[in-house]
Symmetry: D2
Subunit: 138 residues, 4 copies
């Protein structure tokens, strides 16, 4: 897995000074790690745009008192059994649930599933966390 | 919780025709629900910008073979015990783990925690899923 | 152009109260206008994703002291003559220029042009402002 | 202005191979330039979040047949005379105008100006192009 490759890059001194200052505030130990993360973010964005195989999470807030809703959401999740890995459920308060669905599959399927959930009555908020299967990040 | 309020809005006919067409493709049953979701997204964005209390998920991909990493990530999570609700762990392949941390707290604390995790060596990707405790979404 | 269509929508009272408060801070006079803008933003985002005909601006910051750069940037702009409408040039300081290129064409061509400009040495920053020809916004 | 500084970074071989492939498609000549742009984007994002002095463009689409609108937009722009550098105006079609306002000032003022314009009736779309005065980019 680790096949480190060392190479040199040239940047203006002022730019790299500002970057050093910025990454210190973000808790990085060194430039290589900070630059690596910028590169990974760029490649993950591209994966989602290209519709590649991705991984991530769909986060959903809803009111569990609407009993038919819970059943309906379960049905939808079963229709996307190939895309969903597992689900984590948190009781935010008496009414609101936070449900986080771990997903892996084509970017398109993940977006379809999110659309399906978002369009349900009494589902209050849905967001997609775009991450990666890790294969591009080695 | 449900205290429905009905009111009228005026839009150009062409605009609403295009919107109707768009939301049909996104699986909405009617305009009220689609407009409600646009409004909620706007309010949730504002909550995160304002640093209010929020809920959401941090998604992280890392290589669990680096044993010290797992311990380090555990330590960091314990430092943010007030912000973290629970964690879901998925084995993506022989090397890569997908860990999804359900969070609730100030937007600032959630971002700090994400920065802390992202800056660790061998943590390959970190994203924050910005959702809400649901209180603004009634 | 104006063919106003009036219809009713139903939202939770608390949600609409929060929205009213939010749009007052953003200088809106009434809900219809604020909701119309949320709808337009959604449709414009979709246009850019779908690769439709779009309009917008490419903003670029560069150091004009690199004379070959100015010529090179001119050459590139001529290659995209069908996409570029006109250019506005501002002298930010002794070194830095802000150049804003008004564009109209396929989303893909606009992105290609932006990539081409961004990849030039001594072009310091390039962003694409995604707007619309207005046809969808009536 | 140019005070090039050379340093080494270490990345996994597979990651840098994927990055090389990606930047070739985006027309970059070499890694230093592509990495420099990722760093600049990060610093510009931070400038806007921190409310520093910024430069950029506000793009606006509106229907010029509404004569009072043109006057109103002019008045607003005069109120923000310190922030606005110049304006470029394009006739998209019989009805729609694309107006691009070059701006320089505090991020907050630029956002206020954009809100003010967006909230006008018959202004169809407003977006802010977040760039920089170039001082951080050397």
């Amino acid at each position: 897995m680790s096949n480190l490759y060392r190479f040199g890059i040239s940047l203006d001194k002022d730019l790299i000074d500002r970057f050093d200052n910025h990454i210190r505030l973000k808790d990085y130990n060194n430039r290589s790690e900070a630059i690596r993360d910028l590169i990974r973010d760029e490649l993950v964005r591209k994966q989602w745009q290209a519709g590649d195989e991705v991984a991530g999470a769909i986060t959903m807030v809803y009111d569990h008192h609407k009993r038919e809703l819970a059943n309906k959401l379960m049905d939808i999740q079963h229709d996307y059994g190939d895309t969903i890995i597992s689900t984590q459920h948190i009781h935010l308060d008496h009414h609101n649930c936070l449900e986080i669905i771990a997903v892996k599959g084509s970017a398109k399927n993940v977006q379809h599933l999110a659309n399906k959930l978002r369009s349900q009555r009494n589902v209050n908020h849905v967001v997609v966390n775009m991450s990666t299967t890790g294969k591009i990040l080695t």
